[in-house]
């Protein structure tokens, strides 16, 4: 799956040597080229000299606040994806990080498969630039982005235009967490509030989920937003 010609460069920024060691070992075996920084200023320095393809960033660094680093990275105009490592207790920290331009997060402690999934989702566009399949498939769900039609186990699903817009957004960012604010901006142009969104997600789930109370496709990230399951 990973491009063979040039392996992707991951910069891991964490002050805990144990975490860095674990990530270095695990990510290397998956074909990533791993560089490490133990604090924020060093990370920024390294990015300046030797751009990475993706940044894995711990929010609790000793010198610079992780949020500040996100600001600086985005301020420099660097568009590399950022995956944030957050501790469980600060939901607001996660949302802040995403609002400032982080692409996704994993909550410590996490399994390596979870992190790999996030990396893949964040790099999906990069990895599959050409020949993007026009049909998104995940389980029984198929979304044809060209014909604008949705089927569940082969049967057509009727969606309202707004529901389709919402689903299309989810599908186009499948595997990535989308914050409430981001979705509202993309689908409603920033109008309306979270209630609005919840009502539409409920309606959408009722149409595409076999068991809406145990959703398989559109997953809720409590307190943050939603995540579309990655395609098969």
């Amino acid at each position: 799956m990973i491009g063979k010609a040039t392996s992707l460069k991951v910069l891991v920024v964490d002050d805990e040597p144990a975490i860095r060691r674990f990530l270095r070992t695990s990510l290397s075996t998956q074909g990533y080229e791993v560089t490490e920084a133990e604090n924020g200023s060093r990370a920024l320095d390294m990015l300046r000299r030797n751009p990475a393809d993706i940044l894995v960033l711990d929010l609790g660094l000793p010198d610079i606040n992780g949020l500040e680093i996100i600001d600086q990275v985005r301020g420099q105009g660097w568009s590399l994806p950022i995956i944030v490592l957050s501790s469980r207790t600060d939901e607001t920290g996660k949302v802040d990080a995403l609002d400032r331009g982080a692409d996704d997060y994993v909550t410590k402690p996490f399994g390596i498969d979870e992190l790999l999934a996030r990396l893949r989702a964040a790099l999906r566009h990069r990895l599959q630039q050409e020949g993007e399949p026009p049909v998104f498939r995940c389980g029984d769900l198929a979304v044809d982005l060209v014909r604008r039609n949705v089927t569940l186990a082969g049967r057509d699903v009727k969606l309202t235009p707004r529901e389709y817009d919402l689903l299309r957004l989810f599908v186009s960012q499948a595997g990535k967490v989308l914050t409430h604010r981001f979705i509202l901006r993309e689908v409603w142009g920033g109008e309306g509030d979270v209630q609005y969104l919840r009502v539409y997600v409920r309606a959408l789930r009722n149409k595409i989920e076999p068991h809406p109370e145990q959703p398989r496709y559109i997953l809720t990230e409590q307190g943050v937003g939603y995540r579309m399951r990655a395609p098969d």
Partner: protein, 903 residues
């Protein structure tokens, strides 16, 4: 009187002079408030800003903003005079620079806190004197003042608030103010401001503030301020009208005096007096004359008198208690001294014979009142009063005052004389003596020793004069009669002595009964109070009123003793007194005035003791010279002190007991916490370490399956550890009060879904059935907390219910309540544990005696659910074994729901 009439239409010279004096002087405006924190300074600055905009030259002499930003903002644009720095005992204190202000000569100067006491060494000891000087120099002054600093109200305020204010301003300053603006705030608003920290509170005044800022106090203070201002307004109007010769209904020197006694009709009479005073535009006073007779009133009657006096005060009159030889003289003396023009008294309800026998106050008053009008009011007894029959012992029968006693004794002798003359025709002269003896005896029984000796002397003389030959002289012809008269005198003296002693004993007995009753009532009052401050206040009041002394109560505080209550209110002792109090405390012996140790102190300090030692100190003093206490009073004080000490100790013990209970509980909890942490942290760690070391050292000897097993162990135990630590964190957040739930409008199904997703691994060995009603409304929830609650419940069910059994998660709506249930097929919860399982670290033993849970999950559930305004209970299934956990949550109001549907 008549000569003054033509003047009434001309401006009164007095009033004109007053006005002229005001004109040369600067104008004084007082911003008067009921309590600190109502916003006087703010108001004053606003007024000053308005003046500045009008082009007036305004400077700030001194203003304390106490760091409040809104107030500070108002300083902008106003010139502030630099303060004069004064060195006082090593502290730099900033005072208003009076000379600089005088030299600067602004039109208007702002001087905050009129009642302030200047640092020693300043020109004037008090700030109001500075203000007078400024006014004298023709500078206008704006100043602020709290009502409790007004001299004449000091006592009243102290009584209301139990706090004595030391810094006072004479009434004359307030009276001379050209303008008073009342800065008013309702007590509720003020208390709110206090809570928000908007009221400046000096650090050392915490206790005082607690007492002070109570709605009752504030209401009373506010009333005082308003009333005082209203009075001022009236006086100002009258002055103005006089100065401009406007005929008006001002008080033409009228004064009303109303007599208060124990009669139940008295309140009605007081009200009449108030109406009369209103009509006359006159000040009025209610007076109670304390005579020998009033000492013998029952407590019900005393209460009635006090109530009538309080009523007068409430109605705006002055209330006084004045000692006097008798009611008539006392009232008239006061009335004349104070130029009263009207006397109001109640119509007597006594029968005619009683009046005839003892004389009538009403008649005497009218006769002796001269040019004072006497209003005799036939009033009904107050219906509000419950007519408990006043219990009187024989000795309590009202008696005439002292001069009356002699008069009455003479009367008895006169009666004896008449009877004697009548009987003379039938009896021997010797027997007539018995009639006189009866008169002496009667006098002794009724009035005691001295009047009866007087009767005795009178009898001897009368007997001699009228019956012993030669008649109508004081000489005695027959020596036999001399002997008879001598023995008559001896017998009369002995009899009068004995009778008087019996009477004295009866009186003492009655006093003792009264004291006993008071002690009993006091004991009951003490037993009824659970708050130390109230108890101390009651004690101080009781001792002060029973011993007629000033009382302070001190309790130990940080190695020394400090005043905790006093009557009359007082909170600071001078150094000598404090030393004596401390000595008394440390040595558990009396000290101070009249004692062996430190007799130089103003007060006498006595320890209050219980069986287990001293609990506090009573300090006493009185303005009376001579010994502070009679032996009787000393005994009484001991009785009071013992009762108070026991009550104080009781409250202390109750507090200790509560502390001990809390400590024990904390101890248990700590033990449980340690067990739990050591077990729940170490077990998974042991498994992880064991598996990891096995893998590292023996990987080559292990087949793939074994390696997988060990790796799975590491992962699962790591996850378990993670859950436990998450629980500990949640619990810590709950206990620290750091859980502040968001209140999002949420779809329950959404949260159920994400909770099931998270619990997927935990629930892998069970069948999960979700059954949500179709009509589920949106709820106000914190999604993260609620997901955690559901996760914990599912996790709990998975732990206790056997594998492959069914776990149901249902949600139903019942009116304005939504009910979520997690139902399992496990063994259920023992009935006695249904409530305790929500306690921290409490776990139900599993069937194999293994402790499965962490003892935190359900405690967290309850904490979170309650934080979101819901409730959670545990129960057991009725149809089979199994536990049911039920969460109930309120459905948001329609308005909120409508908003959501619209969205």
């Amino acid at each position: 009187m008549d000569e003054r009439l033509p003047l009434e239409r001309r401006p009164s010279p007095d009033a004109l002079l007053r006005e002229a004096a005001q004109e040369a002087r600067g104008h004084l405006k007082v911003f008067l408030g009921a309590a600190p924190g109502v916003g006087k300074t703010y108001e004053m600055l606003q007024a000053a800003q308005a003046k500045r905009r009008d082009g007036i030259d305004v400077v700030i002499g001194i203003v304390e903003t106490h760091g409040r930003r809104e107030t500070e903002a108002l300083l902008a644009g106003l010139e502030t005079m630099p303060r004069r720095q004064v060195d006082y005992r090593g502290h730099q204190l900033g005072e208003m620079d009076l000379d600089a202000v005088l030299a600067r000569r602004p039109q208007l100067v702002l001087v905050d806190e009129l009642a302030h006491t200047n640092v020693p060494g300043s020109r004037h000891p008090k700030r109001y004197m500075d203000v007078e000087e400024l006014l004298g120099a023709g500078i206008d002054v704006y100043t602020t003042l709290n009502i409790q600093h007004v001299e004449s109200l000091n006592d009243v305020v102290a009584r209301i608030t139990r706090i004595r204010v030391r810094e006072t301003v004479p009434d004359s300053i307030v009276d001379r103010a050209d303008e008073i603006e009342i800065v008013d705030l309702t007590p509720d608003d003020l208390i709110q401001r206090l809570k928000e920290g908007k009221v400046y509170v000096p650090a050392q005044a915490e206790r005082a503030v607690r007492h002070y800022f109570q709605p009752g106090n504030l209401t009373a203070l506010r009333e005082l301020a308003l009333r005082r201002t209203a009075q001022r307004v009236d006086a100002q109007m009258v002055d103005y009208m006089r100065a401009h010769a406007i005929a008006g209904p001002w008080a033409a020197g009228e004064r009303v005096l109303v007599g208060v006694n124990q009669d139940p009709s008295c309140p009605a009479v007081v009200r009449y007096a108030r109406r009369l005073a209103d009509r006359l535009q006159a000040p009025w006073t209610a007076i109670h004359i304390e005579t020998a007779q009033t000492q013998r009133l029952t407590s019900v009657e005393r209460d009635r008198i006090a109530e009538s006096l309080r009523l007068a005060e409430r109605l705006g009159g002055e209330a006084l208690t004045v000692p006097g030889p008798n009611v008539v003289d006392g009232m008239l003396e006061y009335a004349r001294a104070n130029n009263s023009t009207h006397l109001v008294i109640a119509k007597s309800h006594r029968p005619r014979w009683s009046e005839w026998l003892r004389g009538s106050v009403t008649h005497q008053l009218i006769r002796q009142a001269g040019d004072i009008s006497v209003h005799v009011i036939a009033a009904r007894p107050d219906t509000s009063e419950n007519h408990a029959p006043a219990v009187r012992t024989a000795a309590e029968r009202p008696r005439l005052g002292k001069p009356d006693a002699y008069l009455a004794s003479a009367g008895f002798v006169a009666v004896a004389l008449v009877i004697g003359i009548l009987l003379q025709q039938f009896l021997s002269i010797a027997n007539v003596a018995l009639v006189f003896l009866t008169a002496v005896l009667t006098s002794a029984a009724a009035y005691g020793l001295l009047p009866s000796l007087f009767a005795c002397l009178l009898s001897v003389l009368t007997y001699n004069f009228f019956f012993l030959p030669p008649l109508y002289t004081f000489t005695i012809a027959d020596p036999e009669n001399v002997v008879a008269l001598f023995f008559f005198a001896v017998v009369a003296v002995i009899v009068s002595n004995m009778a008087a002693r019996v009477r004295a004993q009866a009186i003492t007995a009655q006093q003792r009964a009264h004291t006993t009753e008071e002690l009993y009532l006091f004991a009951r009052k003490l037993a009824g109070s659970a708050i130390l401050d109230d108890l101390l206040w009651a004690t101080a009041f009781q001792i002060a009123s029973m011993l007629k002394a000033n009382v302070v109560l001190l309790l130990p505080e940080e190695g020394t003793v400090a005043v905790r209550a006093a009557y009359p209110p007082e909170d600071i002792l001078d150094a000598a007194d404090l030393a004596a109090a401390k000595w008394a405390w440390e040595n558990n012996r009396p000290a101070g005035r009249g004692a062996d140790t430190l007799p130089g102190a103003k007060r006498l300090f006595l320890p209050m003791r219980t069986g287990s030692g001293p609990v506090g100190i009573i300090g006493l003093d009185s303005e009376r010279p001579g010994p502070l206490l009679t032996p009787d009073q000393r005994r009484l004080l001991n009785a009071l002190a013992d009762q108070a000490a026991l009550a104080i100790e009781r409250i202390g013990l109750a507090q200790n007991l509560e502390r001990a209970r809390l400590a024990a509980e904390t101890e248990n909890l700590r033990a449980a916490l340690l067990t739990s942490i050591s077990h729940d942290l170490r077990t998974p760690l042991a498994a992880v370490l064991g598996a990891a070391t096995s893998l590292r050292n023996y990987r080559r000897q292990l087949d793939d399956a074994a390696q997988d097993e060990l790796i799975a162990t590491i992962q699962e135990e790591g996850e378990r550890l993670n859950r436990f630590i998450a629980n500990l964190l949640d619990m810590t957040r709950l206990e620290a009060g750091a859980v502040q739930p968001r209140s999002d409008v949420m779809d329950v199904a959404d949260i159920v879904g994400s909770a099931l997703g998270r619990a997927g691994k935990v629930l892998a060995r069970h069948r999960v059935v979700v059954d949500l009603a179709d009509d589920m409304p949106l709820l106000k929830l914190d999604p993260v907390l609620f997901e955690q609650v559901l996760f914990n419940l599912l996790d709990n069910a998975a732990k206790y219910a056997p594998e492959r059994s069914e776990i149901r998660l249902t949600a139903t709506r019942d009116g304005q309540i939504v009910r979520l249930q997690v139902i399992d097929e496990g063994p259920g919860v023992p009935p006695e544990d249904l409530e305790r399982i929500f306690d921290k670290f409490y776990r139900v033993q599993a069937a194999d005696n293994r402790r499965v849970g962490t003892g935190l999950g359900l405690a967290i559930c309850r904490g979170f659910v309650e934080a979101m305004g819901g409730a959670i209970i545990a129960g057991n299934r009725a149809d089979r074994s199994g536990a049911v956990f039920t969460i109930t949550l309120p459905v948001p109001s329609d308005r909120e729901a409508v908003k959501d549907i619209a969205a």
